[in-house]
């Protein structure tokens, strides 16, 4: 019996564990040693060069530009997306749910099921200077002066891409927040109404504190997600990463170093740096957004 059990366990685990070790565990483990090599191009030989890659990275102005853009995304994306999502969730939930709330939620969620790359292609058309939807709209309402090459201008490129991330992100968080709001007992609102609280007050005094755990998760998700922004920038920006590094981010810079320049050692050093940033941010976000849990 006992013997049979271990043979069964071993038999079941052998293939999954083997594949997982080869395709998931080993790449993560190998990322560290490769980061300390001068591995370039298709040559099979490389030397260990200590922290040279990290020193070079520290003096690489493009890396700092990319990092600055990531930090900008990391502050702006959670702020904009969480604010808008809370606003629309509250609107949909107004007085226990407005007419058509279910229908709105289905539509809002559309972008969340689309591939980010496909969303990128769609918005490339929208931003198209000549026949694009956005400039067409601006001209139609008489704001011709505002029509411009959104992605081609360094001043508007990153902002335009942020708008696309917001467009694609809000629906997901509306569904997340409205689900959390639905769990709040209705009596709380009735009591607040009797006490003379308005809708806005009720939102800040009741709704927000009670769904704070969910909001916290959303913020953490968006903060960490800001480090992962890649597909939209790869598809939408000129270059990609341009014009003139105006939309350069760490993940794209790593991808370019590895697969366009063949600098595998250097790219891995960027990857390890990304990992360190990721860990720091995860801890920081949960520390900073932590609050007393409200029990109801």
């Amino acid at each position: 019996m006992h013997h049979g059990k271990y043979r069964f366990v071993f038999g079941l685990l052998l293939i999954p564990l083997g594949l997982y070790a080869v395709f998931v565990v080993s790449p993560y483990v190998q990322a560290f040693p490769i980061a300390f090599t001068d591995w370039e191009g298709l040559s099979a030989t490389y030397r260990y060069i200590g922290f040279d890659n990290f020193v070079a990275l520290f003096h690489d102005s493009v890396f700092w530009t990319a990092l600055r853009h990531n930090l900008f995304l990391l502050v702006s994306l959670p702020t904009i997306i969480v604010t808008l999502s809370l606003f629309f969730s509250a609107a949909l939930n107004h007085r226990g749910g407005i007419r058509g709330a279910k229908f709105y939620k289905i539509i809002y969620f559309f972008p969340a099921v689309l591939s980010i790359a496909v969303v990128g292609v769609l918005w490339q058309f929208i931003f198209e200077p000549r026949g694009g939807l956005l400039n067409g709209f601006l001209r139609a309402v008489g704001l011709d002066a505002l029509a411009q090459p959104w992605l081609g201008d360094g001043d508007t490129a990153l902002g335009s891409i942020i708008a696309v991330v917001v467009w694609g992100g809000v629906g997901f968080y509306v569904v997340l927040f409205t689900a959390a709001m639905a769990a709040i007992p209705k009596e709380l609102y009735e009591a607040a109404l009797l006490d003379g609280a308005g809708s806005v007050q009720a939102f800040f005094r009741i709704t927000l504190p009670l769904i704070w755990n969910t909001v916290q998760v959303a913020i953490a998700f968006l903060v960490i997600g800001a480090l992962d922004q890649f597909a939209l920038i790869k598809v939408l920006s000129v270059g990609p990463g341009g014009p003139n590094d105006a939309t350069q981010v760490i993940s794209l810079y790593m991808y370019t170093n590895a697969f366009a320049y063949g600098k595998f050692g250097y790219a891995s050093a960027i990857g390890v740096t990304l990992f360190a940033l990721n860990m720091i941010l995860t801890v920081l976000t949960f520390r900073l957004t932590r609050r007393e849990r409200v029990v109801y």
Partner: protein
Amino acid sequence: MTRTATGRLFGGMTQGFALVWGAMVLFPLLWSVVSSFKTDSEIFQSPWKLPAVWHWDNFSRAWSESHIGRYFFNSLVVVTCGVVICLLLSAAVAYVLAQFEFPGSKALYYVFVGGMVFPGFMALVPLFFVVQNLGLMNTYLGLILVYATGGMSFSVFFLTAFFKSQSKELAEAALVDGCSHWGVLFRIMLPLARPGLVSIGIFQFLGMWNEYLLPLVLMTDENRYLVTQGLANLAVTQGYHSDYSGLFAGLTISILPVLAVYLVFHRQISTGMTAGALK
């Protein structure tokens, strides 16, 4: 203003806001679908007008000449196999971790679940070489295995919780009756886990269908492009050929099936995806 009047005004405003965002989401999608029936010159003339003649041929051109059809087939093969293999591997691991205690079983659980914490970009370069050294670049099998193993962390996490929630009595009774461990797994536990497997399956299918980075690195042969990657590539190189109507048709082809699947399963998908966030 009385309170009810303010309330009504507020109610009307919330309807308005809800409607505006709905339009902002829906309009670009509708616009791209309508544009995919236009001619190139109509697309550039005005983004507002409907096409004079609805050009269905844009779709056949996108499907065959721009190879969207082939990319679609590639995606279908890789993603379907990826999901099935991911579920098989994860169910096996999850069942063992949920039902058996053995030295190192806790550690093993964290090895699998820990995969969710690390940024994928970090492993990108080594993964490329693992796949290359195995001779699996530009093969279905390579990407299928990468997808399947990449989806394991979340699936193992989810399915272990699921198997743990099942009572052990049923399995024990079957064992006493002389059923083998394999019999318990295939005849009792897996059929019981079907709802869990279905929701994980839908979740993984969407995730793999929408993946962009991994095919970009591991499928460099144009014949093996997946649909998101192929479409993005067409859009980037399009500036030189300028078959915009065909490209819009390609975009519509990659949007509509996903939205159709979503509309059918919208409840499972949105709850599944948001539950994933709250894990």
